[in-house]
Symmetry: C2
Subunit: 137 residues, 2 copies
Amino acid sequence: MVVIEDILKKNQLSVTDGRKKILELFISSEGALAHADIEEKTGENFDRVTVYRTLNTFVEKGIIHHIPTTDNSILYALCKDNCEAGHHHDNHVHFICDVCNKTICLDEVTVPTVQLPEGFRPSHAEMVVNGVCGDCK
Amino acid sequence: MVVIEDILKKNQLSVTDGRKKILELFISSEGALAHADIEEKTGENFDRVTVYRTLNTFVEKGIIHHIPTTDNSILYALCKDNCEAGHHHDNHVHFICDVCNKTICLDEVTVPTVQLPEGFRPSHAEMVVNGVCGDCK
DNA sequence: GCATTTTTGCAATAGTGTTGCAAGTTTTAA
DNA sequence: TTAAAACTTGCAACACTATTGCAAAAATGC
């Protein structure tokens, strides 16, 4: 797939097998992925360390973003096109399905602003909703 | 302090040095605490395992609750009185100060409901706001 | 194609959380 | 007050997750 190489090149990254494979995984998967998912789905082809480094690189370049979770695991999902290196626009709500356990970016649902107490100034807000997703209902 | 022992007894827990010390810590600290904070602040007096088990016990009994974080660490904070074992009422917004790094429960700010896409049914929502707190402003 | 730059894999290390078990402490109730 | 029962603790061992340094390998630029 040429498209995948282009994404890497556009972000000034060397095109390597590992990066292509991992990026492909993100593109073809609906929900968010954890490090463990990636290791599993890429088979035994890559070193754990390579996966970690690739994920970090992708986050730095703004190709994927970090998703907050309630249960203390790290999840990643593809960024939309308006994300740039070091400046994410991922202010949407994340949804975790209690049934299929997928984490889904609700790109069309933005995090609402809340009224904070006197003296508090917000800079960023995250929201995670649990429940049953459209596929599992 | 007699009050601390009463809290433990009310929750059918044996009164031990470790539990008293850790509960005291929570009561006297403003923000949320991580496992590491507790180990640090209780000195070398307790085993790591004891701290883990005490925290789990407190969560089960509804004395403290789990706070979601963006950065994959586990934080705990005191529950308000209306929390009971197995049934938390901690649906308030949590605030993380970018300056002092404290995590604060905004008990008076409840998590807003958002409009989800067709077919999604929510069961629970968490919200974490970053920014500058009242003390650091 | 060759030199430079970047990435990878390995080994080692650190952090975090859990479990089994024996020893110690707290509770209960006589 | 004391002894048995119940519970908690500390230790050792283990598992999982993540990071770093370094040499070998691959990708890039010319």
